[in-house]
């Protein structure tokens, strides 16, 4: 056995070494491809400088010369496997949809986009691995990551590399801590404060109960800001009950407490899966307060086996509603349904807007694919603060240097099974 162990360990060690070489083999080819790409682009720009044919023509010729190299490489990261896969897949699909549309319409400054999405399993460590994989691929800008925890970890890396990052849905405060990072969605505190202000200013209720998920960053982030903002508002929080990811099926205790405390409104800063259970359990125990939620509640009408009449009168602040009547949303929802056979959620809308924001900023900054990552980031950073985007998740969205978007949250109420603006 000892001898066998030795041989096996030799084999294993060589396999280990071999895998290392496999890794660098890829890197080599990647680097060569990059060199080739930059050479090709150099010649293309030289030609452009010589002939006064205008940039568009030069870009066209560059795109024609080398189909792969004359393209912007945008990477995306999010969970496409595991428990949070629904968000990652939505972002991946919608981003791909936007990229295809932009490419069909001529790309950014006439240069097409290549988009690649990597799975991170909603794990910060895997997310950094995914980021490094995309960097090996030659990514120039990052549209990600989807979840907050991963986004914070990856933001650290993009800040080191000075790569432009736009997260569609990373909502925790630290996601855009560095100046190279921007986001499309609202930050958690922003939503919490906006909800409290809405309830207070419109005198929706005078006593409020909160049920939130203490093991979720999104939920506890909103909750905390909601509570601190509630101090300035004319209503009182009479009960605040938490649940965790490990016990999110039975909410009768939390609901009973809210009922005993006499809450007129129950604030649910949680995702729709749990919210649908809360609604049906509240109805079983004959408790009928006003339910108020944030963007996580979007999607509640599509929960399987959920009696949508229970959601009647639920209010939510959401930047996106799949059955909104405006032209852009209609077009997006139809295209998405056609391609992926599914109704897009708010994450998909955020990702779609993110890609268009990159396009708008890219056109403003006049970036070219041969720019290096850092120069591109500097250009994009400036341009992001100058653009105004009419997207799915808001009209006239603008960004400031802090990375936060400026857009108004839309409050909607569910009546007759559809969202209606309030």
């Amino acid at each position: 056995m000892k001898r066998f162990d030795k041989i096996m360990s030799l084999v294993m060690a060589s396999a280990m070494a071999a895998s290392l070489f496999v890794g660098c083999g890829n890197a080599d080819t990647g680097a060569q491809a990059d060199n080739a790409a930059s050479e090709a682009n150099d010649t293309a720009t030289d030609e452009a400088a010589e002939s006064d044919a205008g940039t568009a023509a030069a870009d066209d010729s560059a795109a024609a010369d080398t189909a792969a190299s004359g393209a912007f490489k945008i990477g995306g990261i999010g969970p496409t496997t595991g428990s949070a896969a629904v968000y990652g897949v939505a972002v991946q699909n919608a981003a791909q949809l936007a990229v295809d549309e932009i490419n069909a319409a001529g790309g950014i400054n006439g240069v097409s986009i290549e988009f690649k999405f990597e799975d991170d399993e909603c794990d910060a460590e895997k997310s950094v691995n995914a980021y490094n994989t995309l960097k090996d691929w030659g990514m120039q800008m990052l549209m990600g990551t989807v979840t907050s925890g991963c986004s914070v970890a990856v933001a650290e890396k993009t800040a080191d590399d000075n790569m432009f990052q736009l997260t569609p849905s990373g909502s925790s405060v630290d996601c855009v801590k560095y100046d190279n990072a921007f986001r499309v969605c609202f930050s958690d505190p922003n939503q919490g404060a906006a909800s409290a202000q809405y309830i207070g200013e419109n005198s929706v209720a005078s006593s409020v109960a909160v049920i939130y998920d203490s093991s979720d960053i999104y939920s506890s982030g909103i909750y905390e800001k909601f509570v601190s903002e509630a101090a300035n508002q004319p209503f009182e929080i009479v009960s605040a009950e938490a649940f965790t990811a490990d016990n999110k099926t039975d909410f009768s205790v939390q609901l009973q407490k809210a009922k005993d405390a006499g809450a007129e409104l129950v604030f649910l800063p949680i995702y729709y899966t749990e919210a649908s259970l809360i609604l049906s359990q509240a109805s079983t125990m004959g408790y009928e307060p006003i339910f108020f939620g944030c963007d996580g509640l979007d999607g509640i009408l599509n929960v399987e086996n959920f009696d949508t009449s229970l959601a009647e009168g639920v209010m939510l602040l959401t930047p996106f509603a799949a059955d909104a009547e405006d032209e852009l949303t209609k077009k997006f929802v139809t295209a998405y349904k056609e391609k992926f056979g599914d109704t897009p959620n708010q994450f998909a809308a955020d990702a779609y807007d993110a890609i268009y924001a990159i396009k708008a900023a890219g056109e403003k900054a006049g970036i070219t694919p041969d720019m290096d990552m850092s120069a591109m980031c500097e250009a994009m950073k400036g341009a992001m603060t100058e653009i105004t985007l009419d997207g799915l998740t808001g009209v006239g969205m603008t960004w400031d240097a802090s990375g936060e978007p400026n857009k108004a949250p839309k409050a909607v109420k569910i009546t007759d099974g559809v969202y209606t603006a309030m």
Partner: protein, 358 residues
């Protein structure tokens, strides 16, 4: 000349150190010559972390002979205590010293947890012990998720409810924010530090195994009654192995916390999934075989990343490859076949023969 006197185990241990050293030198050469892809570069520290975890769990499972499913819990304790210290002391002392102290703190806290948990747990045997360690691992993870610690001019504030009830002053800073964990831990981990820690762990474990205490621990594994009747203090040695194993896992946790800027106790990284993952490293590498643990940890960590090309199928392929490797390594028929193969091709090599004589 000292080499001549080396015993078989010493030689064996030397090979283990040598493999790590060669791997380190190889990686350094690749790094310096710029032949390392970013992915591989990013994986270097995690590889060190998993190697340390596998090696330390092998002490409990292989040498002490008790199945522990709560190893990620100790890693979690180490990670949070180390990151907490670094976050508090950020800027107050030089980076190197701060990281060093954080490592010591992580080891100490995880070691203490090892003793505290070990006292009740090690009274059980076999499956019962496995289940109870699993429960303790989950308790640790859940406790960390409801822990809120903040710091302001008046000192530290603790809460189990939410960060508002910390009642921090103006300048206050929330350090551990419940489910949101600790963010902004300084990035102190490096490959060199990781390899140094692997060497230290190997040194501790290999020397322990070959010491008087180690033999006592193994005698408990092999026959508890016989060991007890020769006057070996069972509780003491069991606790010794268990807490050393926990302490090394704690160090791995500190390294983990200082490699990523965000630290959250999710089921994914500190839950029982991770504990089982570490156990898989140990079982694939061979229970009680330290070198095997190192190699299997490296391979199984690299595998999912190298399979990225297969996109969504990669976890499926990963599982299949894992099954195939387990069968190839440990099924009796496969071992028999490999022995035959060895007879055929390797029996003529002189140094092999020499061993056969023994």
């Amino acid at each position: 000349m000292k080499k001549m006197k080396m015993t078989k185990t010493a030689k064996n241990n030397f090979v283990t150190y040598f493999i790590v050293l060669i791997a380190y030198i190889l990686v350094q050469i690749l790094l310096k010559s710029g032949h390392m892809s970013s992915l591989m570069e990013g994986l270097l520290v995690p590889l060190c972390i998993y190697v340390m975890l596998a090696v330390s769990l092998n002490l409990t499972v292989g040498i002490l002979g008790e199945l522990s499913l709560g190893h990620a819990g100790f890693m979690c304790v180490g990670a949070f205590s180390g990151a907490f210290f670094s976050k508090c002391m950020d800027g107050a002392m030089p980076d190197g010293i701060r990281f060093f102290i954080a490592l010591l703190i992580g080891a100490a806290v995880a070691g203490v947890f090892g003793i505290v948990i070990g006292i009740p747990v090690l009274r059980l045997k076999g499956d019962y012990l496995a289940i109870v360690t699993l429960a303790f691992g989950e308790i640790i993870k859940n406790l960390v998720n409801v822990l809120y610690i903040g710091k302001d001019n008046n000192g530290f504030h603790f809460s189990m409810k939410d960060s508002i009830s910390l009642h921090l002053g103006e300048e206050g800073q929330v350090i551990v924010n419940g489910a949101q964990g600790i963010t902004g831990t300084p990035h102190d981990a490096s490959f060199t530090a990781g390899v140094l820690l692997i060497f230290i762990s190997l040194f501790i474990i290999l020397n322990l195994i070959n010491s008087r205490d180690g033999r006592a621990i193994m005698s408990i594994r092999d026959n508890r009654i016989a060991a007890e009747s020769t006057g070996i203090n069972i509780t003491k040695y069991k606790l010794m192995a268990f807490s050393i194993s926990a302490a090394i896992a704690g160090v791995a946790g500190v390294l983990y916390a200082h490699n990523l800027s965000t630290l959250t106790a999710l089921p994914k990284n500190f839950g029982y999934n991770m504990s089982i993952m570490i156990l898989v490293f140990v079982v694939l590498g061979g229970i009680g075989n330290i070198r095997g643990s190192i190699i299997s940890a490296v391979i199984l960590t690299l595998l999912p990343e190298l399979l990225r090309g297969l996109s969504d199928y990669r976890m499926l392929i990963y599982a299949i490859v894992l099954i195939a490797m387990m069968l190839f390594n440990w099924s009796p028929k496969a071992i028999e076949w490999k022995d035959k193969l060895k007879e055929k091709y390797f029996s003529k090599i002189p140094f092999r023969k020499e061993k056969e004589v023994k």
